[in-house]
């Protein structure tokens, strides 16, 4: 993104003059006070919102010029994990995780799906319905769904917000493993302990939204 700005109302931008490039295999944290625009920033990254100024490109394509099918294609290359990720409650967990494949018309490789469930430690919950999952299980299921298409970029919006420390560490470990396999990861969080724990294992850059602008904040931690 180059000189990107965004505002929900025309006169008062929430984000201004932001420039950032996420390289393959990079690991970023995005911090800032509540209401600073972290979630908005992530929504811009997966084209749920369009910038009101500046330029945004993803995988070599101008996001502002993408058709709706183009946006769908972009989202298949970006895995998103929300703090309160929504599932289709009428489908079992395994089918929810495989949903991106299903709607893309791709065949579900059952052994690979089994491995993915094992990786997020949900093998025993494959046939459970989403409302039966705990908060931590939901987050791991969300992560599994986000990565099943093998996306190039993983965005996580306060992924550990509802989790205890052990569960947060487990989820962080999964994200670090994904990063080591070459995926770019961007996590919006205000949990400094999580950032410190990650920095002990990966080369993570910390960005902060302050005064509507994006700043590097790594030196402060």
């Amino acid at each position: 993104m180059q000189n990107l700005s965004f505002g929900y109302s025309g006169n008062d931008p929430l984000l201004a003059d932001m420039s950032l490039t996420l390289q393959p295999g990079s690991f970023h944290f995005l911090t800032g006070p509540s209401g600073a625009g972290k979630t908005t920033f992530l929504r811009l990254c997966y084209a749920d919102l369009l910038p009101s100024g500046g330029r945004m490109t993803a995988f070599g394509q101008d996001v502002q010029g993408l058709s709706r099918d183009g946006i769908a294609g972009l989202r298949r290359r970006v895995g998103v994990v929300h703090q309160d990720t929504q599932f289709l409650d009428h489908l079992p967990v395994a089918e929810n995780i495989a949903l991106p494949l299903l709607v893309s018309g791709e065949q579900v490789d059952m052994p690979a799906l089994g491995e993915l469930l094992a990786w997020v430690q949900l093998s025993g919950h494959a046939r459970a319905m989403p409302p039966e999952l705990s908060g931590g299980e939901r987050q791991r299921a969300a992560l599994a769904r986000a990565v099943i298409m093998s996306p190039d970029l993983i965005l996580a919006d306060e992924p550990t917000g509802n989790l205890d420390w052990d569960m947060s560490m487990r989820l962080l470990q999964l994200l670090i493993e994904l990063n080591r396999s070459g995926k770019a990861v961007l996590i919006a969080t205000h949990d400094l302990n999580l950032i410190r724990a990650a920095k002990q294992q990966v080369q993570a850059r910390v960005l902060r939204i302050a005064g509507k602008r994006l700043q590097l904040a790594g030196a402060d931690l």
């Binding site: 997966y46 084209a47 749920d48 919102l49 369009l50 502002q64 058709s67 709706r68 099918d69 946006i71 769908a72 294609g73 972009l74 989202r75 298949r76 998103v80 929504q86 599932f87 289709l88 409650d89 009428h90 489908l91 089918e95 949903l99 991106p100 299903l102 709607v103 893309s104 018309g105 065949q107 579900v108 769904r145 298409m149």
Partner: protein, 309 residues
């Protein structure tokens, strides 16, 4: 936010998506909506049932109007009532006059047995026609160009005072007019039924789509294309409309088939049904209902998807 472009949802693409098999079970992304589904099927069935009757009415009144119009246009009767010593002479005079009247294709004096047949419903089978002062009846078949009824009436008055020209206009014309109006009403009813079906299916589809707004947002978030989402909903509602309409049509056809036959009721009631190939018209109702379901759900899906990025 930029206005959503939904070019991928053109009718041809959606139709291909609809007719293609769904081995992956993509339709399962739409949650089952029991009550809405039952209502859609029931509404489609009820509308198809009514459509069968409206169609039968339109076809029957069409036939009736055509028959009466045809009879009105082609047959006219001359009735001759005269004293016994004059009736043969007046009959001959009338026959001569008719032969020389332009626009008359044929004039036929009804023989006694036919007259007896006409009187049979009133007097029973053993009518002694020769013993009764029964008027002579001449049936006239009109030529395509028609004849001047008023001029013929005046001529008969002068040459055969006992002859009365009866062209049936007085009583047939209002009936033909009524039959034609009934046919129009039948066709209007069909259009209204189609429009009401469309409205009901649209409402049901809109309700289902609105109730599944979260599902649609999740699907978009994970990279589902509009065509995938719309097809799942359109396929479901089109099937429901077609299934309901097939059931309603079958019931409607059975009900029409069970109507009394001509020998058990008046000819008009018997006419309220299908004849020959007319039955096949009813078979168009389920595909038409499916088409209405398809168009209505597509419209509702387009509206809903415009609200989700």
């Amino acid at each position: 936010m930029k206005k959503a472009d939904l070019k991928s949802l053109d009718l041809a693409t959606l139709w291909r998506g609809l007719t293609r098999p769904d081995p992956a079970g993509t339709d399962r992304v739409v949650p089952p909506t029991g009550f809405t589904a039952q209502l859609t099927v029931f509404s489609a069935a009820a509308m198809a049932f009514l459509a069968v009757f409206a169609l039968a009415l339109a076809l029957a009144t069409g036939r009736l109007a055509e028959r009466w119009s045809s009879e009105l246009a082609q047959t006219v009767t001359v009735r001759i009532s005269a004293p016994e010593d004059q009736i043969d002479e007046q009959t001959l005079t009338v026959m001569e006059a008719l032969k020389t009247t332009p626009g008359i294709a044929e004039a036929r004096l009804l023989p006694d047995d036919e007259v007896e047949g006409l009187l049979e419903p009133w007097f029973g089978p053993d009518v002694p026609v020769e013993a009764l002062p029964v008027p002579r009846l001449i049936e006239i078949t009109e030529a395509a160009e028609g004849f001047d009824a008023e001029a013929l009436r005046l001529r008969l008055e002068g040459e055969a005072p006992g002859a009365v020209l009866d062209d049936h206009t007085r009583w047939r014309q209002p009936l033909v007019s009524a039959a034609n109006r009934l046919r129009v009403l039948g066709l209007v009813s069909l259009l209204l039924i189609a429009a009401a079906s469309g409205a009901m299916i649209t409402l049901a589809a809109k309700a289902a789509l609105a109730a599944n707004g979260q599902v649609i947002r999740v699907l978009r978030l994970i990279g589902a294309r509009d065509i995938t989402i719309a097809t799942a909903f359109v396929r479901r509602f089109t099937r429901r409309a077609a299934m309901g309409a097939a059931g309603g049509t079958a019931l409607g056809m059975a009900a029409i088939w069970a109507l009394p036959a001509m020998d058990q009721a008046g000819s008009f009631l018997t006419g309220l049904g299908f004849q020959g190939w007319g039955w096949l018209w009813s078979l168009l109702i389920p595909p038409l209902a499916a088409a209405i379901g398809f168009v209505a759900t597509r419209w509702a899906a387009l509206k809903m998807l415009r609200e989700v990025r």
